[in-house]
C-alpha cells in the first residue's frame, strides 16, 4: 500500500466513525446548507456535531495550512477526502464566503497576524462573512466605487452604500472595497475587514423577482474601522479584489454542473419527452452540459498544476452560468403550466419557477457575462483596446 492508499483507508474509517447518519442523507433544500456564524440556527444536533468534528480536524478547509485552522492536506489528499465524502454521501459540513472567497485572498495577501486572527474562525464556522463590492453607482464598473474611507489616524471612517451584498443581514463580518484616494480609479481602492455589528452599519434585504431575498443593501454611516483591519497596502485593494473575484467566479461556474447532479443527463432526469422539438433541445443541451463537465475537470486539473490562465475563471463563469440558465429554461418548458405554480404544496411553493428566476442573476452577479467576455478578450486573446 502506498501512503495515499493508507490515507484513503484511514479517512474512510474516520468518516464512518464520525459522520452522523443524518448528515449522510442528501440535502433536501437550500435550508440544509450549513453557513455557520454567530447567529446560525442549526437545523439539527447532527448538523452542529458534523461541523464541530470536521472543523476541529480542519477538514472544512482541507487544503489550508494547519496553523490557520486548515487540514494541511496535499492536493492529492484533499481530492481523496472529497472522493471518500462523496462515496459515503457525507454532506459538505460548512459552506461560506469565508472559505470560498476571503480565505484564499487572505492566504495570498493577509499579514501573518491577520491570517492567525481571521482564518481559524472561518475554518470552524464561527464567523460568517459577506462581500461588500457592488454599489448603486458601481456595478459592472466595479472600480468606479465611491464608498469612502477617511484616514483618521488610528482608524478609517467609512461612509457609503453597498448593494447586492449576499446575506448581509445574516453575516458577522464584511470584506469591503472602499475608496481611500480619488487620485487614481483602480489605484485608490483599499480592502477592509470589519464587524457588521460595528456602530453605523445597517442592512436592508432586497426582494427579488423570485420572491427570495438573498441580497441586501448595506449602509455605512461613520463606521470606525481599526487600521490593522486593512488587507495588503492602502490603495492596493484592487489587486486583492481581482484575486478574490477569480475565486468567486470559479465557485459560480460550478453551477453549470447542475448543483452536484452533473453526471446525469438532463434528458434522463426529466424522463420521457413526447415533443420532438423539446427532445431536440434537450439532446443539444446534454451535449453542451457533458462537454462543460469535461471542461470543469480539465480546468481544475490545470489550476492544481498551476497551468491555468489567470483569466480562465472568467471563461468558466460565463459558460457555466449561461448553461445553468438554459437548464432552467428547459425545466420550465417541460413543466408547462405546472411549473408556473407559485404558492402550493404541489409545487413546493413554486420551487421550479423561483429557481428558474434565481438563475437569471447567475450571469449578472460576480461580473456579468459581458464583463467576463471583455476580460477574456483583453487578457487571454489580448485584443487591442479591450
Amino acid at each position: 500500500m502506498t501512503e495515499l492508499d493508507d490515507f484513503r483507508a484511514q479517512t474512510r474509517a474516520w468518516l464512518e466513525a464520525n459522520c452522523p447518519p443524518e448528515m449522510r442523507k442528501p440535502m433536501k433544500s437550500e435550508k440544509d446548507i450549513c453557513w455557520g456564524g454567530r447567529d446560525f440556527t442549526f437545523q439539527s444536533d447532527a448538523q452542529r456535531e458534523w461541523l464541530e468534528v470536521m472543523g476541529e480536524r480542519g477538514w472544512t478547509v482541507p487544503d489550508w495550512p494547519s496553523e490557520y485552522g486548515g487540514g494541511g492536506l496535499s492536493a492529492e489528499e484533499a481530492k481523496i477526502l472529497k472522493q471518500e465524502m462523496k462515496a459515503l454521501g457525507c454532506r459538505v459540513p460548512l459552506t461560506s464566503f469565508g472559505i470560498s472567497m476571503l480565505g484564499p485572498a487572505l492566504l495570498a495577501f493577509g499579514s501573518e497576524e491577520q491570517k492567525q486572527r481571521f482564518l481559524p474562525p472561518i475554518a470552524r464556522g464561527e464567523i460568517r462573512w459577506c462581500q461588500g463590492y457592488s454599489e448603486p453607482g458601481a456595478g459592472s464598473d466595479l472600480a468606479g466605487l465611491s464608498t469612502k474611507a477617511e484616514d483618521r489616524g488610528d482608524h478609517y471612517l467609512v461612509n457609503g452604500q453597498k448593494v447586492w451584498t449576499s446575506y448581509a443581514d445574516e453575516a458577522d463580518w464584511i470584506f469591503c472595497l472602499v475608496r481611500t484616494s480619488t487620485e487614481s480609479k483602480h489605484g485608490g481602492i483599499s480592502f477592509l475587514l470589519f464587524d457588521m455589528a460595528s456602530e453605523g452599519v445597517s442592512t436592508k434585504p432586497i426582494k427579488l423577482i423570485s420572491g427570495y431575498s438573498p441580497f441586501c443593501e448595506t449602509f455605512f454611516d461613520d463606521v470606525k474601522v481599526p487600521k490593522d483591519q486593512l488587507v495588503h497596502e492602502e490603495n492596493k485593494g484592487w489587486t486583492v479584489a481581482k484575486y478574490l473575484l477569480g475565486h468567486e467566479r470559479e465557485m459560480i461556474s460550478g453551477m453549470g454542473l447542475g448543483g452536484g447532479k452533473g453526471s446525469s443527463l438532463l434528458s434522463e432526469a426529466l424522463g420521457e419527452v413526447d415533443d420532438p422539438l423539446l427532445a431536440t433541445d434537450l439532446a443539444r443541451f446534454d451535449v453542451d452540459a457533458l462537454a462543460f463537465q469535461a471542461m470543469s475537470e480539465a480546468f481544475i486539473d490545470q489550476l492544481k498544476a498551476g497551468e491555468a490562465h489567470p483569466a480562465l475563471p472568467s471563461m468558466m463563469k460565463y459558460a457555466g452560468t449561461e448553461l445553468n440558465k438554459r437548464r432552467h429554461e428547459l425545466v420550465m418548458a417541460l413543466g408547462g403550466s405546472d411549473a408556473l405554480e407559485w404558492e402550493s404544496d404541489r409545487s413546493k411553493e413554486g420551487a421550479r419557477a423561483r429557481d428558474w428566476l434565481r438563475t437569471k442573476a447567475n450571469s449578472i452577479e460576480g461580473g456579468t457575462s459581458e464583463i467576463q467576455l471583455g476580460i477574456v478578450a483583453k487578457h487571454i486573446l489580448q485584443l487591442p483596446g479591450a
Binding site: L265, S267, E268, A279, T280, L282, A283, R284, D286, V287, D288, L290, A291, F292, A294, M295, E297, A298, F299, D301, Q302, A305, E307, M315, Y318, A319, E370, Q372, L373, G374, V376, A377, I380, L381, L383, P384, G385, A386
Partner: protein, 365 residues
C-alpha cells in the same frame, strides 16, 4: 488528470512543428489542388509521417508501430486539423488500424501502414447521411466465401487505397470485409469534394471474396473503427476550429477600419471571446473521450458522441465567424481562411454530424 502528460506534450510539440512546416496549406492542400492531383494528398508526406513514427502510432510494436493510444492519435489529428493537412492519417492510421488489430489481416497490412506506404479506406456510408445501423449492402454466403452487393459513398480516399474495408450485412449482422480495389465487379468512381479532398463512390456488383476476407468476428471491428474514427475526427475538428480562430484573431489585430484595429470593437471582441471558450470546451470533451477509450471505460461510447457533436458544432461556429470577421478578403480563393470552412463542412459529416451524435446520446438508455 484531464490534461496531456509530459510525453504527450512532447509529441504535441514535435507534431506541431512538423505540420506547420511540412503540412502547411501552401505546400499540401493548395498545392495538390492546384496541380489536380488524383489523390488529393502527397504520398511523400505520408512516408515522412511514417518515418517520424506517426502512421504507426496505434500499431503494435511487433508490427513496427509504437502502440500508443487514442489520446496520442488525437494530438496528431489536432495539428492536422490546424493546418488542413491532407493525409490518410484519420482513416488509415486510426480507424483502419483499430478495425484490423487482432485480426488475421493485421500481419499483412499493419507493417505497411506503420511505414507510411499503405493507404486504407473505410466504406460505411450508403446514403448522404451517416447511419451504420442501417447498412443495406449485403454479404451473402456463397461456397467458400461471400458475395458483396450494394453501393457505398463518402469513402475517403477510396480511389487511392490499397485496401478497402467494407461494412456489409451478413446473416449474423453487420461485419467488415477486406476487399482489394481491383476486385472483379467493383466499380470505383473518384469524386472531388468541396474541400478538394477525394472520396469515392463504390459500386459492388456480385463481388466475390474469400471467407477469410471478413475482418475479425461480428461487428466488433466495425465498432472499434467507428469509435476511433469519431473520437479522432472530433480532434481534427477542434484543430480546424483552433486554426481558423488563430488566423482570425491575428486578423482582428492587424486589419484597421475607422482608424483602429477591428479587434478593438466590442461587437467582435465578445464573439471572439465566446468562441475561445467554446473551443476550449470542445477540446476538453474530446480529450475526455479519448482518455475513456484508452481506459476501455464503459462511458467511452457516450463521451465519443458528446465529443463529436460538440466539436462539430464549435468548428461550424468557428469557420462561420472566421469568414465573417475576415470580411471581403475571406471570400477570395487567394486567402486561406475559406479552406477552413470547406474542410469543416466535409469532416463535419464524416462519421456522423452533430445531430446524429446528439440524437445518439439522447437515445441511449
Amino acid at each position: 488528470m484531464l490534461k496531456l502528460n509530459d510525453d504527450q506534450r512532447m509529441l504535441q510539440d514535435t507534431v506541431r512543428l512538423f505540420m506547420a512546416e511540412k503540412g502547411a496549406i501552401s505546400k499540401q492542400l493548395r498545392h495538390w489542388r492546384d496541380i489536380g492531383c488524383k489523390d488529393g494528398f502527397g504520398h511523400s508526406l505520408w512516408e515522412e509521417m511514417g518515418k517520424l513514427g506517426l502512421t504507426g502510432i496505434l500499431v503494435p510494436e511487433a508490427a513496427g508501430g509504437s502502440a500508443l493510444g487514442q489520446v496520442e492519435a488525437n494530438v496528431v489529428l489536432e495539428e492536422i486539423g490546424r493546418n488542413l493537412t491532407p493525409s490518410p492519417f484519420l482513416t488509415t492510421a486510426v480507424a483502419a488500424v483499430r478495425a484490423l488489430e487482432g485480426s488475421a489481416h493485421a500481419e499483412k497490412w499493419l507493417p505497411g501502414i506503420a511505414e507510411g506506404k499503405t493507404v486504407a479506406a473505410l466504406a460505411i456510408d450508403e446514403g448522404p447521411h451517416h447511419d451504420p445501423s442501417k447498412i443495406t449492402m449485403t454479404a451473402t454466403r456463397s461456397g467458400n466465401g461471400f458475395v458483396l452487393d450494394g453501393d457505398k459513398q463518402f469513402v475517403v480516399q477510396g480511389a487511392s487505397a490499397d485496401l478497402l474495408l467494407v461494412a456489409a450485412a451478413t446473416d449474423d449482422g453487420p461485419a467488415l470485409f477486406a476487399v482489394a480495389p481491383d476486385a472483379s465487379g467493383l466499380d470505383i468512381e473518384n469524386v472531388t469534394l468541396a474541400d478538394s479532398s477525394k472520396a469515392a463512390r463504390l459500386s459492388f456488383d456480385k463481388v466475390e471474396v474469400d471467407a477469410d476476407a471478413q475482418v475479425g468476428e461480428g461487428d466488433a471491428p466495425l465498432k472499434r473503427a467507428l469509435a476511433a474514427g469519431r473520437a479522432g475526427v472530433a480532434s481534427e475538428l477542434v484543430g480546424v476550429a483552433a486554426g481558423a480562430f488563430e488566423m482570425t484573431n491575428a486578423y482582428l489585430r492587424e486589419r484597421k477600419q475607422f482608424g483602429q484595429p477591428i479587434g478593438s470593437f466590442q461587437a467582435l471582441q465578445h464573439r471572439a471571446a465566446h468562441l475561445y471558450g467554446e473551443i476550449e470546451i470542445a477540446r476538453a470533451a474530446t480529450l475526455k473521450a479519448a482518455q475513456l477509450l484508452d481506459e476501455g471505460s464503459e462511458r467511452a461510447a457516450m463521451m465519443v458522441h458528446v465529443a463529436k457533436a460538440k466539436a462539430g458544432q464549435v468548428a461550424r461556429l468557428a469557420v462561420q465567424e472566421a469568414v465573417q470577421m475576415h470580411g471581403g478578403i475571406g471570400m477570395t480563393d487567394e486567402h486561406d481562411i475559406g479552406f477552413y470552412m470547406k474542410r469543416q463542412a466535409v469532416i463535419d459529416q464524416l462519421f456522423g454530424g452533430p445531430d446524429f451524435h446528439a440524437r445518439a446520446l439522447a437515445q441511449r438508455s
